[in-house]
């Protein structure tokens, strides 16, 4: 009797789980299928599940003529550049906030957090005017620079949590032996937090990759990132849905792969390091 009840319970849990996955993963698969559909099945009623897959949409968007190919490269440049630029700013700040009890240290952390919560749209108008005025509109530099409003605060928070885990005793020992601060950081702390730095950089890459508000306003036709380029398909009469599917799939894949690789750190990354999973 008890066994039967347990079996029923397990069955119910799995049923719930399957329902949850169907709701949250099903749409992604359905959308990704769009990229390899023959175009006559895009809006077929009833929906067509089985069809002969065709790489035609990927072919036209990324190979020939490949309108989205250079947008993919742009996305990589902007997100990669934003992460690289952020490291020399965020690592020292995270180190200082982790190791020293400073006046206003907690307020600093809250200030960074506040920036992460701030509405990006609220900055769009001044950015648009100021960036145009100094002649940087449409440049990668402008986008990479503005992305720092996301990457620096995020990286400071997450990286601080990794530095907190490096025992101070190691640094102390080197200090007692007469080594100077910069040397201690470079020789002892940096190698030990490198894994944390890589994890932080990968998450920062995703957040910057996924930001559309800044490139929407700051890029031009030549420097448009992949989602902004994809947005252009909606402006043409009769949206070319298979192309949208192909471009969007390419935009979805890198963050998904990064999150699967970082599985162990996902909860920690999403809470900016405040929850150590």
């Amino acid at each position: 009797m008890r066994r039967k009840k347990l079996l029923l319970r397990t069955g119910l849990i799995y049923a719930g789980l399957i329902l949850v996955l169907l709701v949250f993963i099903g749409p992604i698969l359905w959308f990704a299928l769009l990229a390899i559909r023959p175009s006559e099945t895009v809006f077929a009623i009833p929906p067509v599940i089985f069809f002969t897959p065709s790489p035609a949409a990927f072919q036209s968007t990324f190979v020939d003529p490949g309108a989205n190919r250079h947008q993919l490269v742009n996305s990589l440049i902007v997100a990669g550049g934003a992460v690289l630029l952020n490291l020399p700013f965020s690592f020292p700040a995270a180190y200082a906030l982790s190791r020293f009890r400073m006046r206003g240290g907690k307020n600093m952390m809250l200030w960074y957090l506040g920036l992460l919560m701030a509405p990006p749209v609220a900055f769009l108008i001044p950015y648009f005017v100021l960036v145009s005025r100094i002649g940087l509109r449409g440049t990668y530099l402008a986008m990479i620079l503005i992305m720092q409003t996301i990457t620096i605060p995020f990286s400071v928070w997450l990286m601080k949590s990794f530095i907190d885990e490096v025992p101070v005793e190691l640094e102390e020992a080197a200090r007692v032996d007469g080594a100077k601060w910069p040397r201690v950081i470079a020789r002892i702390t940096l190698p030990l937090v490198r894994p944390g730095m890589i994890v932080t950089s990968m998450f920062a890459f995703v957040f910057s990759w996924n930001n559309a508000a800044f490139p929407l306003v700051l890029s031009n036709q030549r420097t448009a990132t992949l989602p902004i380029g994809t947005l252009g398909y909606f402006a043409t009469a009769g949206a070319t849905w298979t192309f949208i599917g192909a471009a969007a799939t390419a935009a979805m894949l890198p963050p998904m792969i990064i999150f699967l690789v970082l599985d162990r750190y996902v909860a920690r990354g999403l809470t900016f390091g405040s929850l150590k999973g």
């Binding site: 799995y14 789980l17 949850v20 709701v23 949250f24 993963i25 749409p27 359905w30 959308f31 809006f43 009623i45 929906p47 020399p88 700040a93 200082a96 190791r99 020293f100 009890r101 400073m102 600093m108 809250l110 506040g114 920036l115 919560m117 509405p119 990006p120 749209v121 769009l124 108008i125 001044p126 950015y127 005017v129 100021l130 720092q148 200090r175 601060w181 995703v206 990759w209 930001n211 559309a212 508000a213 306003v217 947005l231 849905w241 949208i244 935009a251 979805m252 963050p255 998904m256 990064i258 999150f259 599985d263 996902v266 909860a267 920690r268 999403l270 809470t271 405040s274 929850l275 999973g277």
Partner: protein, 310 residues
């Protein structure tokens, strides 16, 4: 020396005072570059917007402001029906979204807590919607909501649910709930995964002890689990609240604020005023109204939630 937490008995306590001052300055030197850069790209633009907000300035009429009008832009924003509709829509979206996402997220987190084979794979897959760019989620749902053959209207019709003739996104009654649903789809997994990770840190023996004392699952949740994950819960609530308050990408792709102004959010109205109609002065005033609202919300949070942190 008091600002140095390293070293129980500092070996350098007899160092000359100049070196000591340098050491005390060291942490501030480390923080300074990030602060300077962030001030340059956030505080400075905001003050630029503050100045612009007092001018009549439309880029379609010329590159320069056309004159000082005091609080005219603020008056215009606060008396405009479109702006006030945006405030209402934003609040409806924010409050309902936060409540629903955190509620369903908690339910799924509790489901994930059952240690059964396959659970870790399910968990790794579940977070996928959250990893997608919000603007791409917009593309996804524009496809799914399409009135001429999208999957969602088809499923609803199969289930006997009446659908507006203009489509789910084309009716003032269903457009905002449709945007809310897309946001819930993306962020409920976020709440679930983070709350699940927090629930894991609740010591199992405490729950076991309560269970042996005859406590029901509901009592355990309310009296033990929720109080112990209070911090994470408030973090999730704050994050969802603020991000929902900033909703922009979904509206841009799905409805552009329509039909009428039924799905205008503050973020979208701001974008449309400033970067479609190029009404820089008015948009700057709206920027500052939003900045004040956001700061008030964050301030309330800091006072009530972060007061006892660390």
């Amino acid at each position: 020396m008091s600002n140095n937490v390293i070293g129980r008995a500092p070996a350098f306590s007899l160092a000359p005072s100049r070196a000591r001052r340098r050491r005390r300055l060291f942490p501030y030197l480390l923080i300074a570059p990030s602060v300077v850069l962030l001030v340059a790209v956030t505080i400075f633009p905001l003050f630029f917007a503050l100045k612009s907000s007092f001018y009549f300035w439309n880029l379609q009429m010329g590159p320069k402001p056309l004159g000082f009008i005091g609080f005219g832009n603020y008056r215009m924003a606060l008396t405009s029906a479109v702006f006030m509709a945006s405030v209402v829509n934003t609040l409806v979206l924010t409050v309902s979204g936060t409540v629903l996402e955190v509620f369903f997220g908690l339910m799924i987190a509790l489901l994930l807590c059952h240690a059964l084979p396959g659970m870790s794979v399910a968990r790794a897959l579940l977070i996928m919607p959250t990893t997608i760019a919000p603007i791409v989620v917009g593309f996804l749902f524009r496809y799914m909501y399409d009135p001429t053959g999208g999957l969602i209207p088809w499923l609803l019709a199969k289930a006997g649910v009446p659908i507006p003739r203009t489509g789910l996104l084309g009716s003032g009654l269903t457009a905002l709930p449709s945007i809310l649903f897309a946001d819930m789809w993306q962020w409920t997994p976020f709440c679930a995964i983070v709350l699940y990770a927090a629930l894991l840190s609740v010591p199992p023996h405490v729950i076991e002890a309560a269970r042996l004392d005859g406590a029901s699952a509901w009592t355990i949740l309310r009296r033990i689990r929720l109080p112990l994950i209070r911090k994470t819960l408030s973090f999730v609530v704050m994050l969802r609240f603020m991000q929902l308050f900033n909703t922009f990408d979904l509206v841009l792709v799905l409805t552009r604020g329509g039909p009428g102004s039924s799905t205008r959010t503050l973020g979208y109205t701001l974008y449309q005023q400033g970067l479609v109609d190029f009404n820089i002065g008015l948009a700057s005033a709206m920027t500052w109204i939003i900045v004040i609202m956001v700061n008030a919300l964050i301030g309330l949070y800091v006072v009530f939630v972060f007061r006892d942190w660390e």
